[in-house]
Amino acid sequence: MEYILIFITAVFVNNIVLAQFLGICPFLGVSKKVSTALGMTGAVTFVMILATIVTFIVQKTVLDPFHIGFMQTITFILIIAALVQMVEIILKKVSPSLYQALGVFLPLITTNCAVLGVAIMVIQKDFNLLQSVVFAGSTALGFGLALTIFAGIREQLELTDLPKGLKGSPIALITAGLLAMAFMGFSGIV
């Protein structure tokens, strides 16, 4: 039950993009087509779960026992950067087809604040390892949900006739606002 609650909260109620404003760059950057949105979702899910597990273990086994919690930011960002590089290298060797699908998105993920954000949030919320994995997975799913819906809307938006000033990013932001409003409807669930 507890895990279901974490899942629903992370996907719908506290959606990472639309309620917490993390990962806006890829949300606006790679949401022009549904297919790229799905690719990005796959890459983010993979890295987010992996990064959360590794940073969680490092926090509990290195940072906490030695009382160097203030090194958290530096340590976590280095772990994430290294992890992304490693995943890229391994994926290239082991599964070229998956690399083909996710490859272009991987370098972008280092600067996706959602990944670092989730790693820090998990520590702040005092989750255990399993809760953290569920939280990371469902947050990534929430990111994917918002991204895919938004990409679908933007594909339609391409064809509409807009006032000149609103073209491009302004209308994308306003659409995201309306989407966020729709997601606010979920706030009664939990």
Partner: protein, 195 residues
């Protein structure tokens, strides 16, 4: 003269928020009030100036292959400095900005300027670039914060202007951030097109 140009470049022509659309997460996330926006902007400006300065100094020593990781470590060090100082001296602001302070590390503006400007230029212009970009960012965050605070709760920098039960709550909540920024960019684009 040249430094002045670099400085105003970040402030207006290549304003990180309105022209480059960088650093959108804190722009949307912390601008529930003008004060928060300003605090976040100044914190980012400090990190920008300091990291630009250090990176301009050491850019020639760092091998090309480990350039980006080295930059990230330098930036993360200054973010930690800001984080600890703010927690000590401005605990209220630190609490309301929360997660977004450590996330300055992954703010694309900081790494973007390090890579695009500081690594190729000398120290003094790099400082001016950091200053211009940082203040440009502060300006846009404060502006957006002021608009949202005014429409949402009838206040400006915590000073009550009209009774807050007339405010449109939506502008303080998440959707208002997107909508306000969308219209703001549209207006800026319009002004830009005329000049």
């Amino acid at each position: 003269m040249n430094n002045l140009k670099v400085f105003t470049n970040g402030l207006f022509r290549e304003n990180p928020t309105f022209a480059l659309l960088l650093g959108m997460c804190p722009t949307l996330g912390v601008t529930t009030s003008a004060g928060n926006g300003m605090g976040m902007g100044l914190a980012t400006a400090f990190v920008l100036i300091m990291s630009n300065l250090v990176i301009a100094l050491v850019a020639n020593i760092i091998p090309d292959k480990i350039r980006i990781p080295s930059f990230i470590v330098i930036i993360a060090a200054f973010v930690t400095v800001v984080d600890l100082c703010m927690a000590a001296y401005l605990p209220a602001l630190h609490a309301s900005l929360g997660l977004f302070i450590p996330l300055i590390v992954v703010n694309c503006i900081v790494l973007g300027r390090a890579e695009a400007f500081a690594s190729k230029n000398r120290v003094i212009p790099s400082i001016f670039d950091g200053l211009g970009m940082g203040l440009g960012f502060t300006f846009s965050l404060t502006l957006l914060g002021a608009i949202r605070e005014f429409l949402g709760s009838g206040k400006m920098f915590n000073l009550s202007i009209y009774p807050d039960n007339f405010g449109m709550l939506i502008f303080v909540l998440a959707p208002g951030a997107f909508i306000a920024l969308g219209y703001l960019i549209a207006i800026v684009n319009r002004i830009r097109a005329k000049h």
